[in-house]
Amino acid sequence: MTNWINAKAIKASSFIVIKQIALILAALLFATIFLKASQFEAWAIVNGIKTSLTTDLAGTIRWATPLILAGLAISITFKAQVFNLGVDGQLYMGAAAATVVALALPNQNGVLSLTLVFVAAMIAGAVFALIPALLKVYFDTNEVVSTLLLNFIALLYMEYLVTGPLRDPDASTNLNASQALPENTWLPRLDYFEPSAANVGIYIAIAMAILISFVYYRTKLGYEIKLVGSNPRMATYGGMMPKRTTIKVMAISGALAGIIGAIEVTAIQHKLLAGFNPGYGFDGIVVSLLANNNPVGVIFSGLFFGSLKNAGINMERFTDVPSAVTEVVMAIIILTISAEILMPKIIKRIKISKKNKAHRQEVSQND
């Protein structure tokens, strides 16, 4: 047995899984209490998730696809101690590139066109992610700030595209969108779930999760990412180039974000639509955190957050709970997860103060 997957590792990871499940349950409990206290239907969120996982699994898959990819884009950067808050911007760029290529291609073999569309989207996302990466490497610019600010540039650029050069000239309404893409560049939807928007993007997302996992645990690049992330000075001393690793990681992250853009355009909207992104980039951070930055774990946490998102939409549709409440529930879950980082510190504090107290009592008894 190779030692990277020994009994110890399995024990450690199953412990993490159990802990994360407990966290989710705790978060749902808080959310339910919150709903009850706010005089909404108490079980709305639990029922919503139940529906999401049974009768409306299709919706869950539709939302999980981008969330898994966003989670992956974040997790790989976290591993290298780089922070990419620009997934949103990169996915806009990917979507724009996908649209441009799809509209420009002549009617051709579908698979080839689709491949080209996806490659274009990945390149666009990666290139857009390279801007903050190069700024960081050459000018020591903080990537948290630069990626965040570049999101606005990407968003406004896309709005410019759909109101200007790419706007459908035949649009009868005041809808800001591009022309519809030719059908041969549509990413197929899942037959089983017709007529929902669940599409084969979920396969792409899962394949990417496995690929990223392989890269991280099994390749040279993965080893470099691990060392640069844990001790960059040691990496330099060992002959690695941490700056190059940073650039590679950002490019991979941007390419994953580009795929989200391409899937949204080719499978869901079939056109470039202003403001189609509900903030996958930031949700991706939570997805990655809940999965402990483990690429395979991201599949499951992505599915969970997908079902939550879907539940929120269904809640709005079928009950009188506003979807804003789902946002609150999301926030409650985020807080519960970040408590995981906080709790050990709090527990340590309590232990220390208890010990001191016991010590003082002991001393006073001795006197």
Binding site: N3, K220, Y223, L227, S230, M234, Y237
Partner: protein
Amino acid sequence: MTFAVELNNIRKEYPGVVANNDVSLFVEQGEIHGLIGENGAGKSTIMNILYGMAKPDSGVIKILGEEKEIQSPHQAIQFGIGMVHQHFMLMPNLSVLQNIILGRTPTKNFLIDEKSARKEISEIMSAYDLNVDLDAKIEEISVGQKQRVEIVKALYRQVKILIMDEPTAVLTPSETDKLMEVMQRLKEKGCTIIFITHKLREVMHVTDRITVMQKGIVTGRLDTKDATIPELSRMMVGREVDLKMEMGSFAPGEKVLEVSHLSANSHQGLPAVRDVSFDVRQGEIVGIAGIEGNGQTELIEAISGMIRSTHGEIMLSGKKIDRLSVRKRREYGMAHIPEDRLKFGVSKECTIMDNLILNRYYQKPFCAYGVMDHEKLSNFSEELCQNFHIKTPDASCMVKTLSGGNMQKVVFAREVEIDGDLLIAAQPTRGVDIGAIEYIHKKIIGLRDSGKAVLLVSAELDEIMSLSDRILVMYEGEIVAEFSRNEASQREIGEYMMGAKRQDRRKIS
């Protein structure tokens, strides 16, 4: 009779380790008491407890016969206990006087009464013959003087019991001698001193009684006049230690490393290495002596490629390497044990295997087409763990679970196993226990005897003197002297280290 300090059955547990298990320490009034033990034996813990920086889980502390509970260093000072830390607690940009009165400032009409403070401090200084310029800034004075300031600071607070935590670790031999004299004078004036160290020669020289600790327990308590060095080291390590090394005869071969007119800047951009030239031959250990901060760090970083040299040439086995990347230099046969283990040598959050494969993970047979062969890597790591006696259940454990000595063995195993022509060993035994020192020294000598070139940098002059075939002394970025083995005494080399003397610039052989 009453003891100055009496620690009874102290127990202190940290998560995972018992740092002090039932430790008792009795220090008589007016004596110099040596507390010795390896790193991790629990010396610092017991002293932190005495100085109020840590609380014992159980046990009783008595100061001058009275039972006390010491909550903080402030309280410890009130009870008359002072401490001179290994790393000085001084403000670099304040004057000596300001540093001394910090914490006990005399005031007059709400203003600092420097005049009376100056008078009082001058009295202390002349009484103990501890002269330091009171108006100099701390950053301007030498390490030895800083230590004196720490001692004066303690005396100014009227302490009767002084804890000195490894005070000689940062001193040159002559400064060490002066410190010993100061300690004797303090003793004559009635001070009690607890002297923590792991240097046995100093203990034998200056103390009256000795307590030996090993792995959190007291293993010996004896009068210095009855003690011998072999006996003490047996008590410290639990077995006989042989630090006298067998070495093959000196038969240097071809030049492996040639450095000519090398200059390099520090990370702050100041010139740190100035026009340095030397070479290292096969079957030779060249030791670089010098007080830390005289350019040794930058010299090693420039040779290993971690910083760019500004001027000069570096040749490795006849190839010019001064503009090559770290990786290329390593591929040409350079192995490097970095001076700061935790900063550069290991990644604590990674497994032992990840740390062992750093310099070959990308090479065949471990890696093909960018994919690593984990089975080969793990077999290889397990083998290294066994060959180098790294104490761990298996190579998939995190490095942070290892002790300092075992971490150093991981670094050592990694760098020695690639079989390079040149080994750069910077502070190879810093912070490791005697057993590991013995082991590492033997291995370094083994490399030399098998015809490798070794460049050794160490702040421990003892280590340099016992291992090196040639000794270079660095002072302010320059090589100021060169000696062959046994050509100069420790004291003489110390003078060059201090910059008091320098040889004429000889033609480098």
